[in-house]
Amino acid sequence: MILEIVLLCGLVLFSVAAVLFRDLLKAAISLAVASLLLGIIFFLMKAPYIGAFEISVVAGLITVLFIVTIALTKTGGDVREAKAASWIFPLFFVVFLALDFFVMRGLMGKIPALQGTPEQGAFGEVLWKLRTFDLVGQIGVIFAGVLAVLALFRKRDKDE
């Protein structure tokens, strides 16, 4: 229980840090730590597939992409961190904890226990056999992303 609370607090801390840091490198690393913690939480909650995805893709792959991009584009010079970061952060954290304590705890008590779902089964089976249409949608999202990159980083034509 204590481990989970510590992990959750760390998750919130690093997530907020990722937003508040002005230095992109620090922000990217905070995000990676946050998703690492989230991955561990998933493992503890007996969702190993999600945990593995979270750690390998979000904490690993995406962080590498971020850091490569930052390294390639950084112009040099130190970034001064915002003053607001020093007081907004603790304030946000306290508000979050209070909200969590009063609202979410009440809500959790009201949610009935999960009934036996028709969607039980091995992860791969659920994905391929039960949620097939989701895969079509996911193909669409990836497609949209690729096309967006093609469109936004295109070379301008001569007549422009």
């Binding site: 809500l107 009201k110 949610i111 009935p112 999960l114 009934q115 036996g116 779902t117 028709p118 969607e119 056999k129 039960l130 949620r131 097939t132 249409f133 989701d134 079509v136 949608g137 996911q138 193909i139 669409g140 999202v141 497609f143 949209a144 992303g145 096309l147 967006a148 093609l150 469109a151 936004l152 295109r154 301008r156 034509d157 007549d159 422009e160």
Partner: protein
């Protein structure tokens, strides 16, 4: 066959960037436009198949093996598919000439088709999580389309849109997760039955609030509208037309209506919240529109205001209210796309969007002026155009339900609407011709064809409104009324 609504645009979007290498303009134009013609034909085909039945669940199979892809087609989704295909066709026709100067046309069409696939998918899904996924498909494509011009404004608007849209998605996802936790299912049918058998009012309340926040942001209802007046004007004109005419209605209004009327059931409290949101959007956005000098910004605020009418009608929950709301949704899709396309013609010919700099352009661009007048009067609700009938139905429904205050506000907001649309007409097309524009020419051929097509549709829907209502809109309203009535009971009539 219905799967083609999603698969065909995705497939063509996949080959378009390759086709673009071979032919920069003609082939992409042909491909994109023919997709929309096929989709339109498909709507009629599916409509005939559906005739007389309430809803059809379509199970896909592959080589005789049933796949787990189930699509639901009822009057409501068929009607929305019709609107998307029709307006989408006009928009892609307009893009033939308009998108020439942006370059990279094949990519543009590909993104537009992915957005269409996302919207079509959303219209056919049978469960809550799929709503979220197809919402994202359409949204991701639309972020790129808003920024397509690559200027400072476009990128800023796109970023703002992306951020607020991500917040909306987070709310929706949270709502869906809680629903899944409570009911153990995601299917509309399962969720709706479990929610009725469980006594979980508190949880349903929290989820309803999350969904209202999420879909409200997507539909740009007033407290959540901040992104729209930046995003819609910054996009290229055809995309402004698609966003205002289609996307906010599919990912905002359709999804909201589907979830609240068919899954949750419209409770009196929900009905009140939706009606107030509708009225506030209607009035506040109309006042904000009055102060604008940028024509596309004015149209964007007008979209928020008109979505207010739609939500007011649907939120009322009586059969007539839902009918009026849906009819207004269709009419607004036609007229607002027409007006955004016209603003694109104006911007292309004059190079400005500032109404104060225009003047007397009616003499130089008679077709644009004429079609724009039709669109403006239609949205403002002047008889015998289509917008008049839908607003009339909404107002009559409000009076029938004894909601006199709402009816009065709806009438007054309509007067405001007429005011700012006449402002557009006077400043842009009437008056003395500004010297600067003496060399301005009418818009190119395909752009004119597309706007005339939409203007004729506005007029025809107005004159033959009984036919339009009976063939497309009544089946759609019937699909929704059942969900509203089980909860609301015989209310006010």
């Amino acid at each position: 066959m219905a799967f083609l609504f999603v698969a065909l645009p995705l497939l063509v979007a996949g080959i378009l960037p390759l086709v673009g290498k071979i032919s920069k303009k003609v082939l992409p134009d042909l491909l994109a436009n023919s997709v929309f013609i096929i989709l339109l034909a498909l709507v009629f085909f599916e409509g005939r198949g559906l005739a007389g039945r309430e809803a059809a669940i379509l199970q896909l199979s592959w080589l005789g093996e049933p796949l787990n892809i189930r699509l639901m087609l009822d009057g409501f989704s068929l009607f929305m598919l019709f609107a998307v295909s029709l307006v989408g066709f006009a928009i892609s026709l307009f893009s033939v000439d308009y998108m020439d100067h942006y370059g990279s046309k094949a990519n543009f069409y590909a993104l537009f088709l992915v957005m269409t696939a996302g919207m079509n998918g959303l219209l056919l899904v049978t469960d809550l999580f799929q709503i979220y996924i197809f919402l994202e498909v359409a949204a991701v494509a639309s972020y790129a389309l808003v920024a397509f011009g690559l200027g400072q404004d476009e990128l800023e608007a796109s970023f703002k849109y992306l951020m607020l849209s991500a917040v909306a998605s987070a709310f929706l996802l949270a709502g869906i997760v809680i629903i899944f936790g409570v009911t153990g299912g995601l299917d509309f049918e399962t969720v709706s039955q479990s929610l009725r058998s469980l006594d979980a009012r508190y949880v349903v309340g929290v989820c309803a609030a999350l969904f209202i926040l999420g879909f409200g942001l997507k539909a740009a209802l007033v407290p959540f509208h901040a992104w729209l007046p930046d995003a819609h004007p910054s996009a290229p004109a055809p995309i402004s037309a698609a966003l205002s005419g289609l996307l906010i209605k599919v990912s905002g209004v359709y999804a909201l209506t589907r979830v609240f009327l068919n899954v949750f059931g419209l409770t009196p409290a929900l009905s009140t919240v939706l009606m107030y949101l509708g009225v506030i959007s209607m009035v506040v956005a109309a006042f904000l529109a009055l102060g604008q000098t940028d024509i596309k910004r004015m149209l964007a605020y007008s979209s928020i205001s008109q979505v207010g009418y739609i939500v007011l009608g649907i939120g009322l929950g009586t059969p007539l209210g839902i009918l009026g709301g849906l009819f207004h949704l269709f009419n607004h899709a036609l007229a607002k796309s027409l007006l955004f396309l016209n603003s694109g013609s104006l911007q292309m010919s004059t190079g400005t969007r500032n109404l104060d700099e225009m003047g007397g352009l009616g003499k130089r661009m008679p077709v644009t002026a004429g079609t724009s007048l039709v669109g403006s009067l239609s949205i403002a609700g002047v008889p015998p155009l289509n917008g008049f009938w839908s607003k009339l139905i909404i107002i009559v429904a409000l009076i029938q339900a004894d909601q006199w205050a709402f009816a009065l506000i709806a009438v007054l907001a309509s007067v405001l609407t007429l005011w700012y649309y006449l402002l557009i007409q006077r400043k842009a097309f009437f008056g003395k011709l500004n010297e600067r524009w003496s060399a301005v020419k009418e818009a190119p051929f395909w752009m004119t064809v597309s706007t005339v097509f939409l203007a004729l549709l506005c007029i025809a829907t107005g004159i033959f409104f009984a036919g339009a209502v009976n063939s497309w809109i009544r089946p759609a309203a019937d699909a929704l009324v059942k969900g509203a009535q089980t909860m609301l009971g015989p209310l006010g009539f």
